[in-house]
């Protein structure tokens, strides 16, 4: 079946450093979504990518969808303590089933 990998599993950065998480699918995707879950909270929608090679920015966050639509990345520039949390990618199979990536947990050291 369809598999999704997300790396790294954990990332500890000094405040002000950059951070990137990668999401890789075993199959071509129609779209991909990114969510953030703060400790003790619930996932919150960040962005959706649809087109091959698409790049979207939200302030310090940059999202990319690979040319082959099998991978995606989330890059945070100059991390802040408010960026702490777990970042998940979400993909839907051709049968509309939802698969979350295992997530990347980000810690920011002030």
């Amino acid at each position: 079946g369809q598999q999704v990998m997300q790396i790294p599993q954990y990332q500890h950065v000094q405040e002000g450093e950059d951070f990137t998480t990668y999401c890789n699918s075993s199959t071509t995707l129609s779209n991909i979504q990114w969510y953030k879950q703060r400790p003790g909270g619930h996932p919150v929608f960040l962005i959706q990518l649809v087109k091959s090679g698409e790049v979207k920015k939200q302030k310090r966050l940059t999202f990319q969808f690979g040319e082959a639509k099998k991978n995606s990345s989330l890059h945070i520039t100059a991390t802040q303590t408010t960026d702490v949390g777990t970042y998940f990618c979400l993909m839907k199979t051709s049968y509309d089933k939802v698969i979350f990536g295992p997530g990347t947990s980000l810690s920011v050291i002030p």
Partner: protein, 113 residues
């Protein structure tokens, strides 16, 4: 405009018992999906409901069942609880349509002893 609401927030049950969790979707949303999130892991898709029918199902046994009501609210039922069912159960709602973002509730923390 109320978001997704779930009840109860916490629940403690004994092995073998049955549990019902409830979810009210965000106003304007007609699709509800349920997820199980074990500690330190990503949410696992259980099933999705719209038009009062189960439309998609993840890799969960038949002990997990659900229902959607005409007002789009939903219930998740788990029978014959196992210790491994201890997790955060998340409900998400969305409008119908490919790629609609999910709006999550705060979840129900289920502990099975």
């Amino acid at each position: 405009d109320a978001g997704v609401t779930q009840s109860p927030t916490h629940l403690i049950k004994t092995r073998g018992q049955q549990v019902t969790l409830r979810c009210s979707p965000k106003s304007g949303h007609d699709t509800v999906s349920w997820y199980q999130q074990a500690l330190g892991q990503g949410p696992q898709f259980i099933f999705q409901y719209y038009e009062e029918e189960e439309r998609q199902r993840g890799n969960f046994p038949d002990r997990f069942s659900g229902h959607q009501f005409p007002n789009y609210s939903s219930e998740l039922n788990v029978n014959a609880l196992l210790l491994g069912d201890s997790a955060l159960y998340l409900c998400a709602s969305s409008p119908r349509g490919v790629g609609s973002p999910l709006h999550f509730g705060n979840g129900t923390r289920l502990t099975v002893t």
